[in-house]
């Protein structure tokens, strides 16, 4: 049991279980569910860096996802550059956009920052539809199914699954690093009280911008990977604002501002969504999103810290109680 107290070993165990789960379910349908769950966990964790830690609520994160997806796909289709490079190019393009957004809007207070991120995502959606020659317009872009490492297209779903797991490991590692670093403390200070933090010498804008850049990079990389997995992108799937609200909902339900929260959120809500959609999708269109909304509103009202936050609080309280009893 002592081994489990080490954080790194706990995470390693967690990912090992995930990989084994992927190996055990030798069935593309279940693997697809696992991939979707891990993908959303990645996106929610990436969102959480800026939405949870920095307290800057972005509802336009889909802009980074779409930009990443389009960058790698266009590089591959038009210039035949391998998505292996394209994926990172996608992440970098997302960072460039984040830099632009950051310079323009990071000064804005809460709701106004949120509104401008929505506006930017909507603008990109219209542009992606409009610039037909480059993006294929509303019809979208197809990546031909020719499995090879250079094309970054694989026969086995498990390979894709491993890609998303790798992304998640990278995100968790970076968040854990940030958490312990100076920037992490700055971010928490900024989230709690911006004025106080700034008066104590915290560079507020720089901390927020760092968080936004890191978050955008991972979202862009995730978008590019997702495009390689779906082999198809169109503006209305990779630039729709409802994707961002969903990702934000996962973090909130799981527990905002924690490393584990968004992952917990995705592991609970994504399978629920897939189940509801397959069971009720035909008869009641939109019911699963309705339930999403209800869950989101109830979590905010009842357990504002999210499921993980509430659980860890309860465990802490219990431990304290036990300790008190023992000492008494």
């Amino acid at each position: 049991m002592k081994l489990l107290n080490n954080k790194i070993i706990r995470w390693a165990a967690f990912f090992l279980v995930l990989i084994i789960a992927g190996l055990v379910v030798d069935n593309n349908y279940y693997l697809d569910i696992l991939i979707t769950v891990v993908f959303y966990a990645c996106m929610a964790s990436a969102w959480n860096i800026v939405g949870g830690y920095a307290g800057q609520v972005s509802v336009g994160h889909v802009a980074f996802l779409g930009l990443g997806a389009y960058t790698s796909t266009i590089l591959f289709l038009k210039l035949n550059i391998t998505p292996l490079i394209g994926i990172f190019a996608g992440g970098i393009m997302a960072m460039v956009l984040a830099l632009l957004i950051g310079f323009l809007t990071i000064r804005l207070r809460g709701p106004f920052f949120t509104l401008s991120t929505i506006a930017i995502a909507e603008i990109l959606l219209v542009l992606a539809v409009r610039f037909h020659g480059l993006t294929g317009g509303s019809e979208g872009l197809n990546i031909p199914y020719r499995p090879s490492v250079y094309n970054f297209v694989f026969k086995s779903y498990f390979t894709y699954y491993m890609m998303f797991i790798l992304l998640m490991i990278a995100i968790v590692a970076v968040i854990s690093y940030i958490n312990k670093s100076r920037t992490g403390f700055y971010l928490r200070a900024v989230r709690e009280d911006e004025t106080a933090a700034s008066s104590l010498g915290v560079d507020v804008l720089r901390s927020k911008l760092t968080a936004l850049l890191v978050s955008a990079f991972f979202t862009g990389v995730g978008g590019a990977l997702y495009a390689q997995y779906l082999l198809f992108i169109d503006p209305h799937t990779v630039f729709t604002v409802s994707f961002s609200t969903k990702v934000a909902a996962l973090s909130i339900v799981g527990g905002i501002g924690t490393v584990i929260g968004p992952i917990v959120g995705s592991f609970i809500l994504t399978p629920l969504e897939i189940f509801l959609r397959s069971q009720l999708g035909g008869t009641y269109q939109g019911l699963y999103l309705l339930i999403y909304g209800v869950i989101m509103v109830s979590v905010i009202l009842i357990i504002p810290k999210g499921i993980y936050g509430a659980l860890s609080d309860a465990i802490k309280r219990r431990r304290k109680q036990v300790k008190n009893e023992l000492s008494a």
Binding site: T105, T114, I123, A249, Q285, L290, G293, I300
Partner: protein, 293 residues
């Protein structure tokens, strides 16, 4: 043609003004960051539509019924949200959650089809080279009437004064004997009623569909920020600007670019002049502080 576009823009702007004044009221007095405002507009649209299906009453009459319905919806929504007042982040999320609920409830009840009202009039007014449809003129007329009534209410009645007091300083208003909680609910209900009314009138010009709320939501925010937070007069002028802007870009650049132009406008305003376009005359320092830190 230009004159035609500008006049259509002004007529459209009248209806937009209603939406944004409602949002301004909700934001200024009730202190709720409402990201579901557009969805309340859509509720107005679908209420008018349902009334038409059941009783055959057209929106020009049924708005009288839509207003109390919207007020009721607003009252319920306020009860849900009042616990999050003062917590920006939670408020954004709870209204986004509410927006998801409203959109998908409508989607379940009415399916995703675009639903439009059949035009009641088969001719339009011709003034020189300019054509004005009866629909937009009537909608504009009702919007203007309600706006004037609202401004009278805000400036001349005790309740209106109390609302302005709460919007300026909650605790001071409370010390002066204003029942802040009551005024908050009332302002929220009124704001949503105006959104509902705007939806009712928009239905005579545009088709309703479940996710239309997203567009109207940003639109209302764009107008409120453009006009200056909490400034009703500014919101009015901004609504006309946005209306004209929309018809002009819709014609000269393409209908899909209508939103892009005012989103760009919005971001530019937030960066360059967060106090709003018309704040030069009497600049409220407090308002600027509210937008940037």
């Amino acid at each position: 043609m230009l004159l035609q576009l500008i006049i259509s823009g002004i007529l459209l702007g009248g209806v937009y003004a209603l939406t944004s004044m409602g949002l301004s009221l909700v934001f200024g007095v009730s202190k709720i960051v409402n990201f579901a405002h557009g969805d309340f507009v859509v509720i107005g649209m679908y209420s008018a539509l349902s009334i038409f299906y059941v009783t055959g009453l057209v929106p020009y009459i049924s708005w009288i019924i839509v207003i109390p319905i919207s007020f009721g919806v607003g009252y319920l929504a306020y009860q849900l949200m009042k616990r999050t007042i003062g917590e920006d982040v939670n408020q954004i999320f709870i209204t986004i959650g509410l927006s998801m609920i409203i959109q998908n409830l409508i989607l379940m009840l009415y399916k995703s089809d675009y639903r439009a009202m059949k035009s009641l009039f088969d001719s339009s007014i011709k003034l020189g080279n300019v054509y004005i449809s009866y629909e937009s003129l009537l909608a504009f007329g009702i919007a203007v009437l309600v706006t004037i009534g609202f401004l009278w209410f805000l400036n001349k009645t005790d309740t209106g004064r109390a609302m302005r007091a709460v919007s300026q300083d909650k605790s001071a208003a409370s010390l002066m004997g204003v029942k802040v909680e009551k005024i908050s609910v009332l302002a929220f209900g009124l704001g949503i009623s105006m959104a509902g009314l705007a939806g009712c009138l928009l239905l005579t010009m545009y088709a309703a569909y479940p996710t239309a709320g997203g567009v109207y939501n940003l639109l209302a925010w764009v107008i409120v920020v453009l006009g200056g937070l909490g400034q009703v007069g500014g919101a009015l002028a901004a609504a006309f600007i946005i209306g004209i802007c929309e018809t002009l870009t819709g014609f000269y650049i393409g209908p899909d670019f209508r939103q892009v132009v005012y989103y760009l406008f919005f971001i530019a305003i937030l960066i360059i002049k967060p106090q709003g376009l018309f704040s030069g005359i009497k600049l409220h320092k407090k308002v600027k502080d509210e937008v940037t830190e």
